[in-house]
Symmetry: C2
Subunit: 313 residues, 2 copies
């Protein structure tokens, strides 16, 4: 998705995956499709539409193939999905996905509790997935999303060296992109700037996206630091959907609406229309009436001094 | 307050002034004193304890002199107050204040609606206040806080040149420090970096603090940019107290608790103990039970990877 030249930053919407897998209620498939259409209609170029996991584990994601099929009909949309293992990869590839993201926990404790795999088992799985892609689905991109790259609720500190060792390993295994995820909201701007700078230095064009959570309110502050390090792709979730295991009132992922406002007001083109993006929340309100939606821009609106980056002189 | 060497950044708490003047309920004087003591006890070195304005206009601030008298008994605390005119300045000086902050609206429309003064009248008032200080209270510091420095709900865009012209004018009139305030939550990090860089270049040691609101969720993102421009003093408000005329769930000022966490996790010493700071909220809950308190850190806690800057290797 990096070939576009009419935007400066790619905002990758992960609400249909990261958001919906974290909420208790299930958004009916029909509304999921309507929501994704509305998000794409607002100008989002890339949406992580679901997760190819066991329907027993995550019943909200049981309709992943159907959702991908719909998303593929939306003009210009780059369709991605999360895939934790070879079986999921095969299903996602067969569904016609453009890109898969592999969750790779830098913290082995997190890996064991999240996808029940040791690091050795995880690396084998990545190898098998890349081999499958290379052999039968060469057009599909593979991104490794390094979870707990900035710290882990189980392990505590995760060192830069640990994260970078995994990043390099992933590049060696043949993935196309390596992103860094602050899975638990532990990152700070100093660390973000330092680690992404190193990622770009060591991985060059394979250095990928930033995925921040807002558990401690530091999400957009970390975006500023990542921008300085050269990051061009940011994950966001509409309404900060996903909640947070810790904090009432604290969103999970950074809120796409606030992220787009930040970027555009900084003079960085995202291609997203804020009014249409905010309007897309209506589908969520209808489908998940009990779920709180976060974000400042939907309530406060843009400032009277606001200009889209494309219109700025 | 810039002579200290055991901290890197001065967090200036404005809750007792900016916060309390915005809430409808009045915090009884006794609890105000208890709160200020708790804030100082948590390690905050500077607190804006009130506003010397007409008690008719702001009954919550009628006890300003009594509050200053109490704050002056707290060891090591630098006591400041907001002062909108000469009469307020005389009262604040007589109360023994260490520093006054003059709210100077760069937008004339805002000036007229906020303190009912044209720019010409405002400049005359500043001149008179500086003269009074020089003549009878030479030990008191005067800061000009440039309101609407980044934009105005009435005027819309406020240009860098407009803001800088006022900054230079204030320096010429003899104030000791010029800070920039994003009164209405319009600032973005690009603008913040650009404008503070210019402030430091043109004003040198007179360049002062950053005062950000979080109306659009961009407060801490703006702090990151201001840090890069060299800002060493940031205003914050406990619990984001002050609310916001626009957004339910949107705080007014940036939340001191989250600000301190940001700075410390970035390796910048503030001298503030986060646990004690969070504990100080209890006084507000008691005194203003109906007032929502914002902030992520009080609910989420610090991360397991967190270390105070002073303890970091």
């Amino acid at each position: 998705m990096k070939e576009t030249t009419d935007i400066d930053i790619l905002v990758s919407e992960v609400g249909p995956r990261d958001g919906l897998q974290s909420v208790k209620a299930t958004l009916p498939t029909e509304l999921k499709l309507e929501w994704i259409s509305a998000l794409a209609g607002a100008g989002l170029r890339e949406i992580e539409v679901g997760s190819f996991v066991s329907a027993k584990l995550l019943p909200q994601m049981a309709d992943a193939a159907e959702v991908v099929a719909h998303a593929l009909t939306l003009p210009g949309l780059f369709v991605t999905a999360l895939v934790p293992n070879l079986r999921g990869a095969e299903a996602a590839f067969s569904a016609g996905i453009h890109k898969i993201t592999l969750p790779i926990s830098v913290s082995e404790q997190h890996s064991l509790s999240n996808i029940r795999k040791t690091h050795a088992q995880l690396l084998e799985e990545v190898q098998a997935i890349v081999a499958l892609r290379n052999e039968r689905f060469p057009q599909v991109q593979i991104e490794a999303g390094l979870s707990t790259a900035f710290g882990c609720t189980l392990q505590g500190v995760v060192s830069d060296d640990e994260t970078m060792a995994f990043a390099v390993k992933m590049a060696e295994l043949g993935v196309d992109e390596v992103g860094l995820s602050d899975t638990v909201g532990y990152a700070n701007p100093t660390q973000v700037r330092r680690l992404f700078t190193r990622l770009f230095r060591e991985l060059g064009p394979l250095a990928g996206s930033a995925h921040f959570h807002n558990t401690r309110g530091q999400g957009l502050a970390n975006v500023v630091a990542a921008l300085e390090a050269g990051v061009k792709t940011f994950d966001g979730s509409q309404g900060g959907l996903g909640g947070c295991p810790y904090a009432p009132g604290a969103s999970g992922n950074i809120v796409t609406e606030d992220l787009v406002y930040l970027l555009e007001s900084m003079g960085l083109r995202t291609g997203v229309d804020i009014d249409r993006l905010v309007a897309a929340r209506e589908v969520l309100r209808r489908g998940l009436p009990a779920e709180p939606l976060y974000g400042f821009i939907p309530d406060a609106g843009v400032g009277k001094n606001f200009t889209y980056a494309r219109e700025a002189v």
